[in-house]
């Protein structure tokens, strides 16, 4: 059974602080995505990551955001200086060979 694991499940931070959200995607796959969902709203594309490089990024993914795959397993999303409007659920997903996305359960970020 495939699994995408995201940590932390919930993080509360002060505005201006750095946050790192972690994801362990499904192994032996090359294409990963980060999405965010502000409460009750649409699921917004942030960035796709293919073969250890950013493949595409949205307008939301500005200089405050970065992604890394530091050790070949973890896939991280860093927000350098959080803003109130960064409060959202952040979802990591792996693209399967079938073309479908397999999502983690998300990390809820609350910026105070």
């Amino acid at each position: 059974e495939p699994e995408v694991t995201q940590t932390p499940s919930h993080q509360v931070t002060q505005m201006g602080q750095e946050v790192i959200l972690r994801c362990v995607p499904i192994s032996n796959h090359l294409y990963f995505y980060w999405y965010r969902q502000i409460l009750g709203q649409k699921v917004e594309f942030l960035v796709s990551f293919y073969n250890n490089e950013i493949s595409e990024k949205s307008e939301i993914f500005d200089d405050q955001f970065s992604v890394e795959r530091p050790d070949g397993s973890n896939f991280t999303l860093k927000i350098r200086s959080t803003k109130l409007e960064d409060s959202a659920m952040y979802f990591c997903a792996t693209l399967l060979a079938t073309g479908e996305l397999f999502f983690g359960e998300g990390s809820r970020l609350t910026v105070l």
Partner: protein, 110 residues
């Protein structure tokens, strides 16, 4: 450009009835997918329909795709209380960029 816009935004029906949700998109797609999200949880893939397909079934789910109208519909037949969730369509372009719509909140009334 925005892709995958569902309507209605919210739908309440009686258990046992059929639920139909629609999705429109703006650019060329490779495939279109539907996902389900229970409150506060991750998205779960339901069904994928390729751009050269017109209809696809999976259990109580039926998806249609009309590429000339850039629209898709998801039909859930014989709805159950457990079908209560948000449903999202996702348009996938040829570069594997996957863009979700705003979703339809479906509520099944007992």
């Amino acid at each position: 450009s925005q892709q995958g816009e569902e309507d209605p935004q919210a739908l309440s029906i009686q258990e046992g009835e059929n639920a139909t949700m629609n999705c429109s998109y703006k650019t060329s797609i490779n495939n279109l997918q539907w996902y389900r999200q229970n409150s506060g949880r991750g998205l779960v893939h339901l069904i994928l329909i390729r751009s050269n397909e017109r209809e696809k079934h999976s259990g109580r789910l039926r998806v249609t795709l009309d590429t000339s109208k850039k629209s898709s519909s998801l039909l859930i037949t014989a709805s159950r209380a457990a079908d209560t969730a948000s449903y999202f369509c996702a348009a996938v372009n040829r570069d594997d960029k996957i863009i979700f719509g705003k979703g339809t909140r479906l509520h099944i009334l007992p």
